[in-house]
C-alpha cells in the first residue's frame, strides 16, 4: 500500500470500521438492556412490552408485534406495542409461511402482500412497511413484526438489527413457555382470536358496505348531473333537427346546424355514460344472444376506431356456438364490451405482440367466485376478455371499478367511468364480475344469468311517414319549457294536435275537463307530483288512458310501476323525431 489514494481508502475502511463499532456498541447496549429485562422481569406479561420499549429506537418502528401461529394457519397477536393491533387476526400466506420457516423479510409496500389485505383499513394504512422475523422455541412458532406507516421505511441496517433483537424475543417466548404461561395466555388468545375473527368479518362487511354506499352515492350524483344535463341538451339536440327540416335553409346554415346537431348527439352519448353509472336507470331489457352482440360490436365504428388507434394489437374472438340467451339491455352490453376492450387495449398498448381475446361460453356456477361470498347457483353466460398486458396490481384491483379511478394518462383516453359503467351494468343485470390478474395479463370474466326465452325479433325501424298521426290529441306533461316546446313541435310535425302543461296536477285537471288520445309524460317534475302519481290519478278519471313515458332520468321502479298501471313505452330524453313518432304511433295503434 503506497499511493495516497490507497491510504485514503484504508482510512475510509478504518472510519467505516469505527462506525460499525459504534453501531455494534449501541446495539450491544440495547441487547444487554434486553437481557437485563429478561432476567429481572417477574411479571412475564410485562416481558414483551418492556422489550419493545428497548427496541423501538434502534429499530425505528412505529409498532411491534409478536404473532403466535395457530394450528389452523392463522396467527394471533401474543404481544403488541399498541393495543388496537391486538384485535386483528392474521392469515398466513406465502410470506408468513416462509418467515415461519426461518426466512426473515423486509416489506417496502404491504399493500402488495396478501397477509395485509384482510386487515382492517386503519391498520393497513398505519403499517405500510414491515420487517418480519421468525421466533423459534421448542414448541411453538411465532413471528416478530416491526411496522412503520411510511412505505419503504426499513433499511438493511434495520434488518440486521432486527435479526439480533429477534433472539431476545425468542428468549422471552421460551421463558413464557417454560413457566407454562404460554398455554394460559393462549387460552385467552383463543377467545380473543374468535373475537378478532368476528371483528375481521365485520370489518370486511363494513368495507364492502362502504364501497357499495360510495358507488351508490356516486351513482346518484352522476344521475343527478345527467338529468340536469339532459334537460339542457334537449334544446341542443331538438331544435337543430326541427330547423333542419326547413327547406329554405342556406347551405352554410345547414352546415352549422348539422355541426350543432352532431355536437349535441355526442354530448348525449357522454350523458348516456353517466346515466349508465347512475343506478336504477330504466334501460329496456330484452332477450339477447351475447355472440350476436359481440359480432355487432366488432363491426361497429367504435371498435373499428379502436383497431385503427392500436394497429399492433391482435383481436381474436372465440364465440361458443349454441350460446344460451340472456335478458339484457343491448345498450349496456355494448357499453360493457366497448369499455372492457378499450381498457384491455390500454393495458397492452406498449406490447408489440399485444393480444386481446373475446370469448363466450355457457357455464354452470355452483361455487363462489372471487369477490362474491354468495352467488346464485345456476346457469350463466360467461363473457371473458383476456389481454396479455402488464396486469393489474392488487392495490388497483381493489379500486378499478370506482368512478374516476384511472391509471390512464388524462386526456388521452377515457373519462374514468369506463369500468364503473361495467360494474353498474353488471349490477343491473344481477351478474358477477371476476377479474383475474396474472403475470401474463388480465382477464375480466363477466357472468350473466341465462334466460330460457327465445330471442325477441328486432323492432323494425320505421320511416317518419309511417309514424304520421291523423290529428289525434296528445297532451305533453313536462316541467321544462324547452322540453314542452320541442315535444309539441315534433308532434305537430308528425300530424298530431299537441297541447302542453307544466305539472302533473295541471295535467290531471286538464284531463278531467278534456279527454286526450295520449299523454307524453315526464317522470320527474319539480315541484309537484311525479309522472307515476300523475298517471295514477289520470287513470282514476280516464281508465285505460294511453301514455308514453319520456324522461332523462328516473328511478326504474317508478317507470315500471307506471307501466304496470297501463302506461306504454319509455323513451329516453333527448329523443329524436323518429323515436318519438315510433313510440306514439305504437301506443296509439295498440
Amino acid at each position: 500500500m503506497g499511493t495516497s489514494e490507497e491510504l485514503r481508502e484504508a482510512l475510509l475502511n478504518l472510519e467505516e470500521a469505527r462506525i460499525k463499532e459504534a453501531q455494534q456498541k449501541e446495539m450491544a447496549e440495547a441487547l444487554l438492556e434486553g437481557l437485563r429485562i429478561l432476567v429481572t422481569t417477574t411479571d412475564l406479561e410485562e416481558l414483551f412490552p418492556k422489550l419493545f420499549d428497548v427496541m423501538k429506537e434502534p429499530l425505528g418502528f412505529d409498532v411491534a408485534l409478536v404473532l403466535l401461529a395457530r394450528e389452523d394457519g392463522s396467527l394471533v397477536p401474543l404481544a403488541g406495542s399498541e393495543p388496537r393491533f391486538m384485535q386483528a387476526c392474521w392469515e398466513s400466506h406465502k410470506l408468513f409461511k416462509r418467515a415461519l420457516g426461518g426466512s426473515p423479510a423486509s416489506i417496502f409496500d404491504t399493500s402488495e402482500v396478501p397477509e395485509w389485505r384482510i386487515l382492517p383499513e386503519d391498520i393497513r394504512q398505519d403499517t405500510r412497511s414491515a420487517l418480519i422475523f421468525p421466533l423459534t422455541t421448542s414448541g411453538r412458532r411465532a413471528l416478530f413484526i416491526c411496522t412503520h406507516k411510511e412505505p419503504a421505511h426499513f433499511s438493511r441496517n434495520h434488518t440486521r438489527l432486527a435479526r439480533r433483537f429477534s433472539v431476545l424475543a425468542s428468549q422471552a417466548m421460551l421463558q413464557l413457555e417454560s413457566a407454562s404461561r404460554l398455554a394460559e395466555m393462549e387460552e385467552r388468545l383463543d377467545a380473543k382470536a374468535r373475537l378478532a375473527e368476528l371483528n375481521l368479518k365485520l370489518a370486511e362487511s363494513e368495507r364492502k358496505l362502504a364501497k357499495a354506499r360510495k358507488m351508490e352515492a356516486l351513482g346518484l350524483l352522476a344521475g343527478g348531473v345527467a338529468h340536469d344535463l339532459n334537460n339542457i341538451l334537449s334544446g341542443l339536440v331538438g331544435y337543430p333537427q326541427l330547423m333542419l327540416m326547413e327547406e329554405d335553409l342556406s347551405d352554410d346554415h345547414r352546415d352549422m346546424l348539422e355541426t350543432i346537431d352532431d355536437a349535441g348527439r355526442r354530448a348525449s352519448a357522454v350523458v348516456a355514460d353517466l346515466l349508465t353509472v347512475a343506478r336504477g336507470v330504466a334501460s329496456p331489457k330484452k332477450v339477447l344472444n351475447l355472440n350476436e352482440i359481440v359480432r355487432q360490436h366488432m363491426r361497429s365504428p367504435e371498435h373499428q376506431q379502436l383497431v385503427m388507434d392500436y394497429p399492433e394489437i391482435k383481436f381474436t374472438t372465440r364465440l361458443t356456438s349454441g350460446l344460451m340467451n340472456v335478458l339484457a339491455s343491448q345498450v349496456h352490453l355494448r357499453k360493457i364490451l366497448m369499455n372492457l376492450l378499450n381498457n384491455a387495449a390500454e393495458a397492452v398498448r406498449n406490447n408489440l405482440e399485444g393480444r386481446i381475446t373475446i370469448e363466450t361460453n355457457s357455464v354452470y356456477l355452483d361455487r363462489s367466485i372471487r369477490g362474491y361470498e354468495d352467488i346464485k347457483v345456476g346457469e350463466y353466460v360467461r363473457l371473458k376478455i383476456q389481454d396479455n398486458g402488464g396486469g393489474i396490481s392488487e392495490e388497483d384491483l381493489e379500486r378499478i371499478f370506482e368512478p374516476f379511478y384511472t391509471r390512464k394518462v388524462m386526456g388521452r383516453s377515457g373519462t374514468g367511468l369506463g369500468l364503473t359503467i361495467v360494474w353498474n351494468a353488471m349490477q343491473e343485470h344481477e351478474g358477477y364480475i371476476d377479474v383475474v390478474p396474472g403475470d401474463d395479463g388480465t382477464s375480466f370474466k363477466l357472468y350473466f344469468p341465462v334466460c330460457r326465452e327465445r330471442l325477441s325479433t328486432e323492432r323494425e325501424t320505421v320511416s317518419i311517414e309511417q309514424c304520421m298521426g291523423s290529428g289525434q290529441k296528445i297532451l305533453v306533461v313536462d316541467d321544462q319549457p324547452d322540453q314542452r316546446k320541442i315535444a309539441c313541435a315534433y308532434l305537430r310535425k308528425l300530424g298530431y294536435k299537441a297541447f302542453a302543461v307544466s305539472s302533473g296536477e295541471t295535467a290531471v285537471d286538464y284531463i278531467r275537463e278534456t279527454p286526450v288520445d295520449l299523454l307524453l309524460l315526464d317522470m320527474i317534475m319539480d315541484p309537484g307530483i311525479n309522472g307515476f302519481e300523475t298517471y295514477r290519478r289520470v287513470i282514476e278519471i280516464r281508465p285505460g288512458q294511453r301514455a308514453v313515458i319520456a324522461s332523462g332520468y328516473t328511478q326504474s321502479e317508478d317507470v315500471e310501476a307506471a307501466q304496470k298501471l297501463g302506461a306504454g313505452r319509455y323513451i329516453k330524453k333527448p329523443y329524436t323525431l323518429e323515436i318519438l313518432g315510433q313510440a306514439v304511433k305504437e301506443e296509439l295503434d295498440k
Binding site: 499511493t3 490507497e6 472510519e15 423486509s106 417496502f108 402482500v113 419503504a152 396486469g391
Partner: protein, 401 residues
Amino acid sequence: MKTATGWSVNSNGEQAIDEAVARLQKGLDGADPGIILLHASPKYDNARVLARLGERLPGVPVHGGTTCFGVLTSDGVHIEDGRGLGLMALSDPDGDYGVGFCEAKGDPGRAAQVALKQALAAADRPGEAPTVILISSYPGCEEDVIHALEEVVGLGVPIIGGTSADNDMSGQWLQFGNQELSADAVSIAVLFPLCEIGYAFHGSYDYTEHRGRVTRATGRIIHEIDNRPAAQVYNEWTGGMIVDSLPNGGSLVPAASFSPLGTEVGRVNEVPYFRLSYPVEVTDDESLLLFTNVSEGQEIVLMTGNEDSLASRAGRVASVAIEAADFGAEEVQGALILFCTGCMLTIQDRLEEPVAELNSALKGVPFLTTFTLGEQGCFIGGENRHANLMVAALVFGPINV
C-alpha cells in the same frame, strides 16, 4: 449458495453459448441455476445468443447486457478479436430470483419501475425488498433509473449494475432480460438469495487540490466552471493536457482516463469519497461533455490516477466488499464485478493483472467481470449512485442461518 461461471470466445454466438453453458454446468455440478447473468460482446448476434441460452437453460431468468470486447472470469481474460461472452449462475434452491425488462421509450424511470414490478412478480415476492437489485441500462438514463427504483423500494436496497457497452461507442449496446433485448431498455434482476452479500463501489483515483464550482450546466454538459469556459479551466487543471482540443473541440477519450472529475458524495467522518465523471469531449463552445449528469452549484474536483492503480483496482474493491460484509474471504461463494470500459481500455494489455488480483482477493471462487460504459453501485454511506471510471463489486457469502 452455489455459483458458477462459463465463458467462450467462439465467433459463432450459438456455439459460444453451448461452450459457456457446458463450463457453467460443470461448475454447478448438477445444481439448478436460479438466475443467469449474461454479458456478451456486441459483435455477436445477441438475439440468437439469447435464444440459444433459452433453449439450453429453459425457464431460467436471464439478466445482463453487452460488454466491451469480452469478460474476465477466474479462468482468465476472455477476449478474442473484440469478442467474448460470459455467464454466471447463482444456484440457491431456497432463494428467489426474478427478472423484468421494459423498453424505455423516452421514460427510463417508468421503464425501471415497470421492470422492477415484473421482476418482483417473477420472483413471487411482490412488495418485498430484495437483498440486492441488479440493473442493466443504456447510456444517459442511469440516474433516472436509480431514482425511480429508490422511489419504490426506498434507500435501503443496494442497486448495482452497469451501463451496457459496445466496442467503439457507436451505439451497438444492448440490454438483456429473459428472452428480450433492446438498445434502450431497462433490465432489472431482483435477488433474494439465502446467503449474505457484500458490496463496494470505488474509483481508482485520488483527489487533487484543483476544485471549482459548476456555474453553468445543461444535463451532462458543463459549460462553465467558476464562470469561465469549462474546457479552459480543465486544461489549466491538467497542465495543458487538452490544449489541442480547445480551439475546435474533440474527443478526450482516452486522454482524460487518468484525469476525471470528481463530486464529493459523502464523508465518513472527515474522509471524503467521490463519484467520478469522465469528461469525454470538448464541445466547440469550450464546454465539457461528461458521462454523468451534472448540476449547477455542484463542486467538482480534479481526480488523478495511474495505470498500476487501475490494474490492481478490481481485486482491491472485491476485498473492500468482503470487509464490508459479515463474512470472511474464505466464505465467499462468488462475485460479480462491473469494471469501467475506459479503465479497461487503458490497461487492456495488462488484463491478466486484475484477474490475478481478483483470484487472490476472492480465493479462487468463480467471478464474472463485465466492462461497462458507466457503473452503478452503493457507496460506503449507503448511497446508490451512477458514476464513471469505477469498479462495483458484489460478493456472495455463505448461507445465512
